[in-house]
């Protein structure tokens, strides 16, 4: 019984990382109804910049954090301008450049964000060509004990941070004027124009904020591992995508539950089926959630940004 609880706790703590990593992705998708394939690479390049500063310039940790968040934001701005900004004209009416096919523009954004993903990953690897690169470590040296249970305080901190960021962002979206504007612009572009919202600017801001969040998430996760590898980009994208999707793409609170659920399922799958079973379970869970009869495709696809 204790073992089961321990596994669940471990899963929840890992889930915090997943939620944090998925937060930016869900925000982007909710705001733009587009999947940003370059999301993981953005976090990775920011992480590599941080690692470089740490290893080559002996930068202190606070500087690494700031540099990562700033570079993620700047990179995000670049990605948005290049891949997503032009996919909507001012107003979504026939006067805008028509691309055949209902998903035409979404597919184009997908393709160009994929191209930028390749670009950013290679830039990162050029910066630090080795496979294993040291990263500033905030890992805990010991575990807390709670009766018979062991809890790693660093992972707990990440989970708490994830919850704080998620719930904080959700509350801000619900209560603030700008939060309302983000949600309105995501809900109906033309109507948002009509009430005077600067839609393009709002969406650029939301996108940049999402990437800044990815920088924070990257730091939090990597500071526990104390190293970063070229696989990080793909890891961020995949875990973030699963967490966001489980909670409903575009739902901010949903990312938290999705991440936690993913963590718990993975932890138990590992116990029962080993490392490969764990990996399999991640994707099987996603597949089942997506294709099951309970998937209310209409509601989920209506997209938009929901707190």
């Amino acid at each position: 019984m204790t073992a089961w609880v321990q596994t669940t706790i471990d899963g929840l703590l890992d889930g915090g990382s997943y939620a944090m990593v998925g937060l930016g992705l869900s925000l982007t998708f909710g705001s733009l109804r587009r999947l940003n394939l370059a999301y993981g690479a953005t976090a990775m390049l920011a992480a590599y910049i941080g690692a470089w500063l740490h290893a080559r310039a002996q930068a202190p940790i606070w500087l690494v954090v700031i540099a990562m968040v700033l570079s993620a934001t700047v990179i995000g701005w670049y990605v948005e301008r290049l891949c997503f900004a032009g996919t909507h004209e001012n107003g979504s009416l026939p006067q805008a450049a028509p691309v055949a096919g209902t998903d035409g523009r979404e597919v184009v954004a997908l393709a160009s964000s994929f191209a930028v993903w390749m670009q950013l990953e290679q830039l990162a690897v050029n910066l630090l060509p080795r496979h294993l690169n040291p990263f500033p470590s905030l890992a805990a040296s010991s575990e807390w004990t709670l009766g018979e249970l062991l809890i790693r305080p660093d992972r707990l901190l990440v989970m708490v941070l994830a919850a704080a960021l998620t719930l904080g962002l959700a509350a801000w979206l619900e209560r603030s004027r700008t939060g309302l504007a983000w949600r309105a612009a995501a809900d109906h572009r033309t109507a948002a124009h009509l009430v005077g919202m600067p839609v393009a600017r709002l969406q650029t801001l939301a996108f940049s904020a999402a990437c800044a969040l990815s920088g924070v998430a990257a730091f939090a996760v990597l500071s526990i591992d104390a190293q970063v590898t070229p696989m990080f980009g793909m890891w961020v994208l995949l875990k973030g995508l699963v967490a966001a999707m489980l909670g409903g793409l575009g739902s901010i609170r949903g990312v938290l539950w999705g991440g936690l659920l993913l963590g718990v399922v993975e932890a138990h799958a590992q116990t029962l089926l080993g490392a490969q079973g764990r990996e399999f379970a991640t994707y099987a869970l996603l597949f089942v959630v997506l294709t099951g009869p309970w998937w209310r495709g209409d509601r989920a696809w209506s997209g938009g940004l929901r707190a």
């Binding site: 997908l110 393709a111 160009s112 994929f114 930028v116 993903w117 294709t291």
Partner: protein, 351 residues
Amino acid sequence: MSDRIHSASAAASGVNGTLAQAMRDALCHLPGVGSAAGVHAVGLASDMAIMSLLALSAYLMLLVGRVSFGQQAFFGLGAYASGVMSAMFHAPLGLALAAGAAFGALCSWLIALPTLRLSGLHYAVATLAFGEMARVGLSAWHWQIPGEDGPVGPAGIDGFRDIRWLLENNVAPIEYLVLTLLVLLFVLGLLMQTERLRLGVGLRMIGQDDTLAAAQGIAVERVRLFAAAISGGLAALGGGLYAHRTTYIEPAVFDPMLGVHAVGYALLGGLGTAFGPLLGVALDLGLLDASRLLPGWRMVIFGGLVALFLRWRPRGLLDEALVHRLASHWRHLRSGRRTPSVSLPATRRTP
């Protein structure tokens, strides 16, 4: 020489070259054809033909309006299936390839049943999930039977070695290249022919607007399922060709990066014609080759160019508009007239 190729390309392609790296390994496994440059050219051409099949399978799904990030799974399943047939059951190459293709088609059809009703993005993620499930499944699959030089068969994460049908039957790389090209040509012919039939038009209609297509009497779901099956078969066929070319396959090669690349080639090359994906493959692999001068910057430049380019031509290079224009120019050239303009009958004269 092979070491230098390995390390240079490993540095150049970095993380996004798992398949490229494997292809480079393959270049060094097969016996040479005279000069090193000859080996290289033959190898590159074979790689491009094989990748084209995978890109065509992604293209077919794009035609019916679905972005699939899971085609690499059928590529891998086809590779393993045909490898099993030829290396473990000693089937001739043709049968092995056909069996692999059939298996891929079946798997694709089965997966399509629950997933095709999902909207674009959710479908893409579902296929991505399936792709990873297949890869992890293959990593856990052990099945070995005794062979001449030891056990033969899939060894989980260590892959499947000794798919040596080509070596055992003394097929030179250039002969294999010709075979691969013939297969590709055959597939292209089939696809181009389909475009002229009602089926081809129907496929494109479904991709543009499936509600409208249904209103025209097209059985949208069935045609989509059919397209999914064919695309799975194409990918698996490419996988079978790949397995025999490299003689060694491992699950790590069949990762999402491969599938996303396939979609990228189709989108970049253009969705107007089956030659589009080939163009995309040629551009990327050709550039990979040419830019050995600039190791480490290929993707930085190429990626940026692609993203810029897509803003200007969202349907790729050979998009439907261009294909239409080229086709009408071709028709007028053949009939000896220039592009006609609206004109009154020449015989009208004012009295």
